[in-house]
């Protein structure tokens, strides 16, 4: 989960690895403050998002997605479109950082808006509007990428 949040945020395996290591290191240092399994999951998500955000701030701006940039599809479930999935991952990684976190928590972790608001420490309405804007941007990018024949 932690690595996955970082990976989808940064779209870079080695940076995600570094962030995930960092999160577990912090967990080791804060283990005494964890009170339950649910708290631990909440804590991991919160810190993973925060660390991924910090890392993203240090990086140069992500270039726009081009079809030529999409890597060869790796083995995925037979029902998925690997090109589309990879394209979407890159598009998510190119979103503004705040929006990126909301999208990942919503669609990777499948959390409700209230839970996302708790993790990111923002009001629910802020989460809602970031989500709507992010989905709008993603739809637009996807339309341009597929030449207007988005799924």
């Amino acid at each position: 989960m932690v690595f996955s949040v970082a990976y989808h945020f940064l779209h870079d395996r080695s940076l995600a690895d570094e962030v995930a290591q960092d999160v577990f290191l912090r967990l080791y240092q804060n283990l005494a403050s964890i009170v339950s399994p649910q708290h631990l999951v909440f804590w991991l998500r919160k810190v993973a998002c925060r660390r991924a955000l910090d890392m993203a701030r240090k990086l140069p701006k992500t270039p726009p997605v081009g079809l030529q940039d999409i890597a060869e599809p790796s083995a995925e479930s037979p029902d998925t479109d690997p090109l589309l999935s990879e394209g979407l991952r890159r598009m998510v990684a190119s979103l503004p950082k705040d929006a990126r976190a909301v999208i990942i928590l919503r669609y990777q972790e499948e959390l409700e808006l209230a839970e996302i608001a708790r993790i990111l420490d923002v009001p629910v309405n802020t989460v809602k509007s970031r989500l709507e804007r992010a989905l709008g941007v993603l739809r637009e990018k996807l339309n341009r990428w597929t030449g207007g024949v988005a799924r």
Partner: protein
């Protein structure tokens, strides 16, 4: 969720950490311990075996909880899918039979008018 959001969910499916991840975390914990200056903690973690055990315990707990969380999520998804299957089949069955009955009524009406 509409199909395009399904694609998004599929694209953002959880990815596993690369191989050797646990070892790298443990290595960093070791380095951290070497630099730490908390006397009360130092006394406890003075023994390497205990340090390793504590770090390994953290990882095991975190991985177990993440696994448990994933299982719970999958259970919720599965139950939801089960309810949706039943709902869909209910609707399909009712509409299928309604159509068939309409045909029967028409046929009966035609047969009666011929008598």
């Amino acid at each position: 969720m509409n199909p395009w959001e399904e694609s998004l969910r599929e694209a953002l499916r959880r990815k596993d950490a690369p191989p050797g991840f646990s070892n790298r975390v443990l290595a960093r914990v070791r380095d951290l311990r070497a630099r730490e200056k908390r006397p009360w903690f130092r006394a406890f973690l003075a023994r390497p075996a205990l340090r390793w055990a504590a770090a390994a315990l953290c990882l095991v707990i975190a991985v177990s909880v993440a696994f448990w969380d994933q299982q719970q999520r999958q259970r919720r998804q599965g139950e939801l899918a089960r309810m949706q299957v039943k709902q869909a089949l209910r609707i399909a069955s009712v509409k299928l039979n309604a159509a068939r009955r309409m045909v029967q009524e028409v046929n009966q009406g035609t047969a009666q008018s011929r008598l």
